[in-house]
């Protein structure tokens, strides 16, 4: 498949509507979970449960999700997520629904 088309398909649809909470929760568990663990308590990447993120504001966390952390394995998710989706994930992580 054409990669640009795939990214467009992933990004364009949610951009027009509210973020798809179920799809995003799945993404957090399964794909963020590759490094942070399915329970988000850490792996190669750090613990990202709410109690481990108290030093983050929602905006800052959203920026980390979208742009990654250079020099570490945390990749920029901007190619795959909209601003609204990243904001939803930051809120999801900070407000402890990730428990």
């Amino acid at each position: 498949m054409n990669k640009a088309a795939l990214i467009l398909a992933l990004v364009a649809a949610p951009a027009l509507a509210e973020p798809d909470a179920r799809a995003l929760e799945r993404l957090v568990r399964q794909d963020c979970g590759s490094c942070h663990g399915l329970t988000l308590k850490g792996g190669l990447g750090p613990d990202i449960r709410a109690q481990a993120l108290t030093h983050y504001e929602a905006e800052g966390l959203k920026a980390v999700i979208l742009d990654g952390v250079p020099g570490t394995p945390m990749p920029p998710w901007r190619p795959l997520l909209t601003e609204a989706e990243a904001a939803w994930i930051a809120d999801y992580l900070l407000n402890g629904e990730s428990e």
Binding site: G33, S34, C35, G37, L38, G42, G43, L44, P73, L80
Partner: protein
């Protein structure tokens, strides 16, 4: 083997298949052994055994484990027991905790599996009785393990606390604690009751010799920045680490008295933009394809080939996405590749001779793992998001079967018990 076990095949009451009467062997050897030439007693006993075995054919029955396997169900903390020949699931073992990114190894008799959970749990399961034999929480956060060549020790690689812990395979009592002060990855077994592993933070590889306790540790520095995974070849000779922090891989020749790091594939991504890595590739002992090793690139959409003897580059194959597994079929004739999110619905098959892609297909969203049957006739594929393990013929690529599983990830056939480094 005790008489009872011989009679009933040593199998669990829950196992499925009947032991044929032929299993008792010619002339009912056991009764002859016990009662020698006392023909009367022998005949009586033989008759009794036949009656008992007839009755047991519907109850306690034996099953060999050579064509069985386990599928990790990552979200539910369970294992599916599968039968390769029947292409079917036989049952489920539950209660194994967090199995995201779990892997397992087998005891030499292929009856027990040691499962390494992300949550630090080490669980010994009995495939025949389909139950947890013992479970210990040995660390806070783990990443894989290995079993020693003599089957005596099981080693687990830990992120937190960083290091390796070694356990008695029978009792799961800890026999050695090897703190490394670093997240520890790429743990494999090599001959001589030894384990090899690497340190993410320190860029070192350590060899632990368990032939004596406390173990002898050999440390090799300068492996490169942030090794994320490693493999050892089936002969236990070549240990290759993948590096997150450098544009090459590093190899060790473990047959040398003092193995020294050797840079391989230097600058393979030079001059090209590194793509975001949404899933770290895996390095596994399936790398040898013909006369080359095949390796996943980091941050690039390609697999890399090196000559297995000289370790010089022999080619590259552009792929659909960033490879996660690049696995040689057991005969080495093909290489099957799956990919990182968001392209993880696809598999490509590469011909080893031409290094060209000969087949591409989409089993479904979330292709996490592939496992060949021991001689490579079939491949079993975990498709997480459709909750299925798909079975394909590796020559015709025809789908042969589908098996329902809860968020399946790793698939492990018992034949791994007899392979170094798996």
């Amino acid at each position: 083997m005790s008489l009872t076990r011989r009679l009933f095949g040593g199998a669990a009451p829950t196992a499925l298949r009947a032991t044929s009467l032929g299993y008792l062997g010619p002339e009912e050897t056991w009764s002859w052994l016990l009662f020698g030439k006392n023909t009367q007693v022998r005949k009586l006993l033989t008759a009794a055994a036949v009656v008992i075995c007839g009755a047991m054919a519907t109850g306690a029955q034996a099953q060999a484990t050579g064509d069985l396997g386990l599928v990790v169900e990552r979200a539910t903390g369970s294992l599916l027991v599968v039968d390769q020949s029947e292409r079917a699931s036989l049952g489920r073992i539950e209660g194994l905790g967090d199995l995201s990114h779990a892997s397992l190894v087998y005891s030499p008799d292929e009856r027990f599996a040691y499962v390494f959970g992300r949550d630090g749990g080490l669980t010994k399961v009995d495939i025949l009785e389909r139950r947890v034999v013992k479970r210990v929480m040995q660390a806070g956060n783990s990443i894989g393990g290995a079993i020693s060549d003599d089957g005596r020790y099981v080693a687990v690689s830990n992120y937190d606390p960083g290091g390796v812990r070694v356990f008695d395979a029978g009792t799961l009592e800890m026999v050695a604690d090897i703190p490394t002060g670093s997240k520890t990855i790429g743990l494999v077994d090599i001959p001589g009751t030894r384990f090899v592993f690497s340190l993410w933070d320190a860029g070192e590889t350590w060899i632990a010799d368990l032939s004596d306790v406390p173990p002898q540790i050999t440390k090799i520095t300068g492996m490169g920045k942030n090794p994320y995974d490693a493999l050892v070849t089936g002969d236990g000779r070549t240990y290759i680490v993948g590096l997150f922090g450098e544009d090459h891989l590093t190899a060790l020749d473990l047959w040398q008295e003092s193995p020294a790091p050797r840079t391989i594939l230097p600058g393979y991504a030079e001059g090209r933009e590194g793509l975001p890595v949404y899933k770290m590739p895996h390095l596994e002992g399936w790398a040898l394809a013909g006369t080359d090793f095949v390796l996943p690139a980091m941050g690039q959409h390609e697999v890399l080939w090196v000559d297995a003897r000289t370790l010089d580059e022999t080619g590259r194959t552009p792929t659909h996405g960033q490879p996660v597994f690049a696995m040689s079929r057991p005969d080495g004739r093909q290489v099957w590749v799956n990919f990182a999110h968001p392209l993880n619905d696809t598999i490509q098959v590469i011909d080893t001779l031409t290094k060209q892609i000969i087949h591409e297909f989409k089993p479904g969203p979330g292709v996490l793992h592939m496992e060949f049957t021991p001689r490579g006739r079939e491949v079993w594929v975990s498709v997480r998001d459709v909750g299925r393990v798909m079975v394909y013929d590796t020559e015709t690529f025809e789908k042969l079967s589908e098996i329902a599983a809860e968020s399946p990830s790793g698939i492990f056939f018992t034949a791994r018990a007899h392979k170094t480094g798996l």
